[in-house]
Amino acid sequence: MLLQQLVNGLTLGSTYALIALGYTMVYGIVQLINFAHGEIYMVGAFVGLFLVTAWNVNLGLAMLGAMAVCMMLGMTVERVAYRPLRGKSSRLSPLISALGASIFLSTLMALLAGVNTRRYPAIVDLSSYSLGPVQVSSMQVIILLVSAFLMIGLHMLVRRTRIGKAMRACSQDLEAAALMGINVNRVISYTFAIGSALAAAGGVMVGIYYNAVWPYMGTMAGLKAFAAAVMGGIGSIPGAMLGGITLGVLEIMGVAYISSSFKDAIAFGILILVLILRPQGILGQKISKKV
């Protein structure tokens, strides 16, 4: 029973982690909660659904297509709603602009696709395997493997490539990076693109796993993934992974052993506790105020 819940929690947690990575990367560089990120995840799920139903593609292609579309969308949102505000206004304005973009995207999708919940056709074999006492479905295996693959890929990208180095430089000090000749706008744009692609992959997989796609699915998922990012220590990539998985496991455990009707409250309760006890998150570094 406990082991089974752990597997379910890991599955949910790795999708949170995929979304949380986008929040944490953007936050690490521009200190903005990208509220539209949850909607990017939702759009990803819809694009995947469209590709599967209209063109009968397989899961891999559906995910790649959704990632490509969401990369463009993420960059567009950044260009339209955030870049004009950068560096000239209070911290509150970009946050509100992000909220606006989020509301705009979910409503637009509701108008285009209707508010009803849609279902993926059966493109994945839904059989499950028994590993001792634990039942693992093939979709769970896919989610765990793909998430692990994407996270390792992201890690290599950030550590080993030029753009990764530029991203790390920008998250240290945006102004200094600009002075060193780094094209800051381009780095920010790429950061949005990469984060959006990860969220899109998560969206497609969650859409299939829970067999439900609807225009407002991004709001709660986004809030929780942000909670996960904060929990892990915002700005920290390993922190987002750890936070996502921790939150997923704790949430599933809470549902299993406490009550399912308090599902959403559990995630936020944990978040508030973490923030009060350890405001910098699990892996975040304590930053002393600059004076």
Binding site: F226, A227, S261, F268, L271, I272
Partner: protein, 298 residues
């Protein structure tokens, strides 16, 4: 008061009366959020949590115990204020976005609590709440609240709250107890949120937890931002516009939220301080003087 009410219900169309009453309730709540977020700069994205605490407290007191209406209003506001105090405490350690997250989490927890709260009718909510909120009462309370927030914001406490928004480190260096004032800003904001919620419950007959979801919090934040953070006329204008506009746009109801979202983005790009955010009477008068001088010279 009853005479005024009779006279008003006779001359104003019920549909417009309803919009006016909801507008008044929104103004009261938004003036509260304005103290927390607009003046003191502590971003609260869970104002609907305070609203629902006020609404449920007053409704349950009325339905279960038959307590006089005005007392249930005060009780609703007071319970919300107590929770404002509790939510204000993390504000001492957290800044900006982290605090926003706590307020979102708080409102969600409150909503889930009421979804599972037996005396509150769980997901079905409470119905049959007597409609005791009248136009004249809302008008009176709105005027009283405007008067006292105006007093507060022009007082030394209000100026100190603005100084925290403008530069917290400098405010501390000026001897201002920022911890104390941040918590106070949450308590006062929550009090007005709870008062508005109590009025709302006694106007709508019926409340349920979905009335107070994340979108409701965002709607109220929009009102503060649209009018101008920290400005009382701004909060009033913001609440008025965003109460009336959706009603007018009901014809194209489907596009309403689309418009809302776009409005926020456009506003932040072109007028980040809101419609009335950086307009002061002083500047208007001075501008006039300059024009007069110009007129004399030419």
């Amino acid at each position: 008061m009853t005479l005024l009410e009779q006279w008003i219900t006779e001359i104003i169309d019920p549909y417009y009366l309803r919009i006016l009453i909801l507008m008044g309730i929104n103004i009261i709540m938004v003036l509260g959020l304005n103290i927390t977020t607009g003046v003191t700069g502590q971003l609260s994205m869970g104002h609907a949590g305070f609203m629902s605490l006020g609404a449920y407290t007053s409704a349950i007191l009325t339905l279960e115990l038959g307590i006089p209406f005005w007392l249930t209003l005060l009780a609703g506001a007071a319970v919300a204020a107590v929770f404002g105090f509790i939510i204000g405490l993390p504000a001492l350690r957290l800044e900006g976005d982290y605090l926003a997250m706590v307020t979102i989490g708080f409102a969600e927890i409150v909503r889930v609590f009421f979804l599972n709260f037996e005396p509150g009718g769980k997901a079905v909510g409470l119905s049959g709440i007597p409609q005791q909120t009248t136009f004249s009462l809302v008008l009176l309370l709105t005027i009283v609240v405007i008067f006292f927030t105006q007093r507060l914001l022009s007082s030394r406490i209000g100026k100190a709250m603005y100084s925290i928004r403008e530069n917290e480190i400098a405010a501390e260096a000026c001897g201002i107890n920022t911890t104390h004032l941040k918590v106070l800003s949450f308590v006062l904001g929550a009090f007005l949120g709870g008062l508005g919620g109590a009025l709302y419950a006694h106007y709508m007959y019926y409340i349920n937890p979905q009335d107070f979801d994340f979108m409701r919090s965002i709607e109220m934040l929009n009102m503060v931002v649209l009018g101008g953070l920290g400005s009382i006329p701004g909060a009033i204008v913001g609440a008025a516009i965003l109460t009336v506009l959706p009603e007018m746009l009901r014809i194209v109801a489907e596009y309403r939220l689309l418009f809302y979202g776009a409005l926020l983005v456009i506003l932040m790009i072109f007028r980040p301080n809101g419609l009335l955010g950086d307009i002061r009477l002083y500047d208007l008068l001075k501008g006039k003087r300059k024009e007069e001088v110009k007129a004399c010279q030419s």
